[in-house]
Symmetry: C2
Subunit: 693 residues, 2 copies
């Protein structure tokens, strides 16, 4: 019996239900808008040349991953986002969709590719001029020039505006002089910096004619290229250090860079948003330095977008392993005397895994919407407006923070649900978790990202909050746009307390109601933002110091409001996605999954609903009991619901998914059957004692 | 300036408070009963021969750790628990105390030592007869015989009673025949099994005269010993497989063992709790097979006890790094224009780290009590009774589950609080987390352990619940013992709703009150157990199948009740420990820490208190605002509170603790100071624009 038939077999034995998830319908449906690209990428992620060898040490892993990049180049997908005349497809969304699936092969390969094409090339693409595209982009795209993305400095992680590297214009030679003034200004944690990069996009304070025009990006060669086309010795004035061993992603050569009076030609300032004339005169199409800075940074949002998708892939892989194993593994004596109970029939096991399955579905549909918006901004005519960009950035920040934390939690829960087997590298959960760990703080620390989201909610609520933290609040101020469903909360809606009824049955029915769920989730965001706005209102009349202190005492609430907003976004996306599901059974079952997502979210914040009088004590108890009912209802469908994401044995590559557990059970069952048939099973001491009595 | 003086320096700059934690008093006080042994062990954990080399691959790491064991032998501490006439000290508690501290050197070394002395030797010690001690213990103690502890089977992780390996007595030859009947019965995840072990304690069903007397332990040689004293080829009939790479603890050679008609002499059944005469007659000092089984397993409780302590050490190391760094690292502009804000001054940062600090203190004092009880049972005259053993097992299960999950959460939170630096192996957080991962499922899966605790609570509540889960409930039934403070809840106390008052100030004052805290925490356990007992009562009159189903639908609540019990235990231990603190300031400040622990615990379960009418909505809000006040009050003492545990730079060995961040800041501050002094700092574009207007 193959592993697949065993999984089907086990599924058939689960309690009957009148409804069935039709995998032939749901699996292709979930692949979404870039279905073909995802399927191609997944096939690629099965390629033995591409998949991770879990046993490699750091040095060998780095070398393997670097060599894998060349294989990626010959696959057109990694170049899809780039201009057509340079070999791309002008297809931003499709590029990300294919990229996300690469995680199944090896997160190190994915992130190394992300450094090369998603950061190094993308910076040239988004921050460079057409002339610079023609000159610099192709060698970068085809890997003739492996590059680093030198933004972060040791001294300033998330605070890019404060970096200390300088690029000072020298009119005499028409060059920029790149300098690292002190140790804290070293560029840090850069992929391709320790070994493989021959150039870097270096972010530095642009200084010309005695004026600092803020952070700009510069194309800076850092190493010679050897005759074999590999990175050679460092160029004069460039220093590099190796970050060495990390908690994960050890296939990437992260390192540090510093510059000591390194001169680059004037035309290698990436000049789309700011340029310097021969005489040193600075000009920019964007007048405000603040808006210019955030426009530049915003054009690099694709990192966050793709991490949201990649984190979703990791969570799906984790649950595929844990749910499949939970459907096969038996432990502790059952009451039918021969077979022990399957893990997923235990309530605690359902409680651990099924709400996460609902979360992963919610995250999946929200990511589809994020990718739609991303594609519109970067590849659809007329959609690239300051407003749509800011909406995109807010949505990406909220979802990236949510999905990367979720991935860590899901991987860990799955590993624990698989017991000791989950700890073995061959089942991939531990190494995936090690690799994904950094996702929660890179491309924007999650806590910082959620503060940005929270500030956006506040500025949406009232423009007078431009300066609440005494710093650069203005940067987050945007006009309201037409499309509000995803990233706006209906802040002007009156808060309504839901009336409770005496009947528990009635309560459960109401919690199942879509409008009730929306109201409970939206109300929480609205109320939290409103309360926060009221609490911060006095800041307007305070000194900068006092305002900052006041803001700090509400920082936790700000983050909580952003999380509540992310919850709502995902619920909205899930609910909207239900409309598109044409298969009746799939729609019904996914509606239960959506209900589970809603109630699980509400349950996690139950105290808030009680304190704020949105749920009575009686209704609050119903939340938990209705979740219990949903778990029982969904339990028979758990295997199909996770299989529908299409991460089969060949993608997950976990020994546990090879049917090994089932074979062992069959063998032991047969052993005892034969023993009974022969009649030579030993008596148990207890039995003999009972007989003696 | 050395790292230490920098830390002190920074401390001095934190907001003033009239109280100060006197480190000279608190640090030695916290070392507790086995202070000298802990200090010796810590010194040992600084030895360059002993500490982990983070860069070693699996094979090299395994070899290094094996060789380190010999160094441990020459240090007497690992042998303390063993009989004095064999070179030990009959000092169970002291042995564990020293062992726990070894984690700072390398968790692989600690667990490898745990396999050799805490499992292999301890099994001979606790399950063997005096004759067997004299014959088998010394070669095991001095590492002439490295050994595996072959209990777990692939097919039965936490369910030891169901293992399938057999030991069948052969009267003809007076031998036991050890057999692995099928693949699922292979012994799995055993340290020393893949490479280094030459013998194993094998747990198998003892069958003699056609009767299975249940699980017993057998001493089974598995490999030849080479002339150089290392493990050679496998003995006939023994098979071994290597588990290979794991998520962590890769310094240990975990592997599998199987036995094909391996014969061992009759006298190598470890015979303290059951022996077989030459003619095959089985006798045991314990009549009931169930009680016999649990007595044997219970004698191995030290694994859980020591993991509780080791997990505490890991959490202390994690917080030492994160709090020290949080006190030095500055990020985002402050309002005073020159220095940025120190991370630990941000509310979100305080919220992430300080409640964990309170938890770690609570866990610390609870562990002290656990170790006291452990020492009493195993090394004090007349204390080894069935009751005290069961109390010990319950307490160990509750605390091991709590502290190991806490360690993972703390390590991860600390790693995130250190940003990218936290992800670097040189700061140790990621590798410690990788190593500690398995702690939550080995030596008893935490979820299973909490169910055992929950069942114990139920049986304490009412004896009629002997059979609630239709299985072996009897095993958890115990008589109530005299010492109830730690592991008993005052179940008979009437539930009292605390009266709310109109004044918020009054409410906060009440939450600070020790009796209020105790009542809130104890009431939750009592009520949950009572409700659970009522819900399960019908099971008595049900079929076994229906009873099992009913039990399953309340499994989550059972686990929740056990967690609430663990919370209360730790609060009680913390509160009791306050009495012993003679320094006034330290006692005051630790009382705030205890309050934070209580309120943080209550806040995490706030919905329960609201639903059950124990807190009004108004009072519930006060919980959070009082926590905020405690955070501000404790923030200036955070560094001293974590330093008091004594895990200094030389034990933590994180680059972040070398003062590197402070030096970088000093350098950049000086750079800008000189620039200003010279008057050659560039103007900012914003400034020039303002000037132009």
């Amino acid at each position: 019996m193959t592993a697949t038939t065993e999984r089907t077999h086990n599924r058939a034995k689960t309690p009957a239900s009148n409804l069935q998830v039709n995998l032939d319908y749901l699996a292709p449906h979930l692949l979404g808008r870039w279905k073909d690209l995802r399927l191609i990428a997944r096939n690629f992620a099965r390629d033995p040349r591409i998949i991770r060898d879990p046993h490699l040490g750091m040095d060998e892993h780095r070398e393997r991953v670097f060599n894998q990049l060349s294989i990626l180049v010959s696959e057109a997908q990694v170049l899809r986002a780039f201009p057509e005349h340079l070999g791309g497809k002008d297809d931003a969304g499709g590029g990300i969709a294919g990229f996300e699936e690469l995680l199944a092969a090896d997160p190190s390969l994915q992130i190394k590719a992300g450094v090369q094409w998603g950061l190094f090339c993308a910076a040239i693409h988004h921050l460079g001029t057409p002339e610079q595209h023609d000159r610099l982009l192709q060698p970068a795209m085809n890997l003739t020039v492996p590059g680093a993305f030198a933004m972060t400095e040791i001294g300033h992680g998330s605070d890019v505006a404060s970096i200390a590297t300088t690029a000072t214009y020298d009119e005499e030679t028409q060059e920029f002089i790149i300098n690292t003034p002190f140790r804290a200004a070293w560029k840090e944690y850069l992929g391709n910096a320790a070994l493989h990069g021959t150039a870097a996009i270096v972010f530095a304070q642009l200084i010309t004619q005695g004026v600092n025009h803020g952070v700009h990006a510069f194309y800076v060669p850092i190493r010679h290229t050897t005759k074999k086309g590999r990175a050679g010795t460092l160029l004069p004035g460039v220093s590099s250090e190796d970050d060495g061993l990390k908690g994960g992603l050890n296939g990437i050569d992260n390192g540090r860079l510093a510059f000591d009076n390194v001169r680059i030609p004037r035309h290698d300032l990436l000049a789309r948003y700011g340029s310097v004339a021969a005489d040193g005169t600075y000009t920019s199409p964007i007048e405000s330095p603040g808006r210019r800075f955030f426009t530049m940074l915003g054009s690099l949002v694709q990192g966050r977008v793709s991490l949201d998708g990649a984190a979703g892939v990791a969570s799906k892989i984790a649950l595929t392993t844990a749910i499949t194993y939970g459907n096969q593994r038996r432990q502790f004596t059952s009451t039918n005397d021969t077979d022990e109970t399957v893990l997923l029939d235990y309530q605690t096991h359902q409680r651990r895994l099924l709400p996460l399955l609902a979360e992963v579905y919610a995250g999946h549909f929200a990511h589809d919407r994020l990718l739609d918006l991303f594609h519109a901004v970067f590849s659809e005519e007329g959609m690239d407006t300051p407003d749509s960009r800011e909406d995109l950035e807010t949505l990406a920040a909220a979802l990236k923070a949510t999905s990367t934390w979720r991935a860590l939690h899901t991987l860990q829960t799955a590993r624990e649900a698989c017991g000791g087997a989950g700890f073995m590298a061959e089942n991939r959960l531990v190494q995936l978790r090690q690799d994904l760990d950094i996702y929660v703080t890179f491309e924007g620390d999650n806590t910082v990202l959620l503060q940005l989201v929270g500030k956006r909610l506040l500025t949406d609520y009232a423009k007078q909050f431009k300066n609440i933290d005494g710093i650069n609040m203005a940067r987050f101020v945007v006009e309201r746009t037409a499309d509000t469903v995803l990233y706006k909360t209906p802040l002007n809606r009156a808060v309504q307390t839901i009336l409770d009824t005496g009947s528990k049955r009635r309560s459960a029915a109401e919690l199942r109601d879509e409008e009730t769920q929306r109201e409970l989730l939206a109300d929480r965001v609205e109320t939290m933002v409103e309360e926060l706005a009221n609490a911060l209102r006095p800041a307007q009349k305070m000194s900068q110091q006092d305002a900052a202190n006041l803001f700090n005492t509400h920082q936790t609430e700000l983050v909580e409001a952003a999380k509540a907003h992310a919850d709502l976004i995902q619920w909205e996306a899930f609910t909207k996605a239900l409309d598109d599901i044409e298969d009746h059974d799939a729609r019904m079952i996914l509606t239960w999954v959506r209900d589970l997502y809603a109630l699980h979210t509400i349950e996690q914040n139950l105290a808030w609903y009680l304190i704020n009088g949105r749920l009575s004590a009686q209704r609050a108890e119903t939340v938990t009991s209705y979740i219990d009912r949903l778990l029982l209802r969904l339990r028979p469908h758990a295997q199909n619901l996770i299989d529908a994401f299409g991460f089969d044995e060949t993608l997950v590559r976990a020994t546990l998914l090879t049917g090994i557990e089932q074979r062992r059970q069959n063998e032991s069952r047969e052993y005892y059957r034969q023993q009974r048939a022969r009649g030579d099973a030993p008596l148990h001491e207890k039995t003999t004692k009972k007989a003696a009595h």
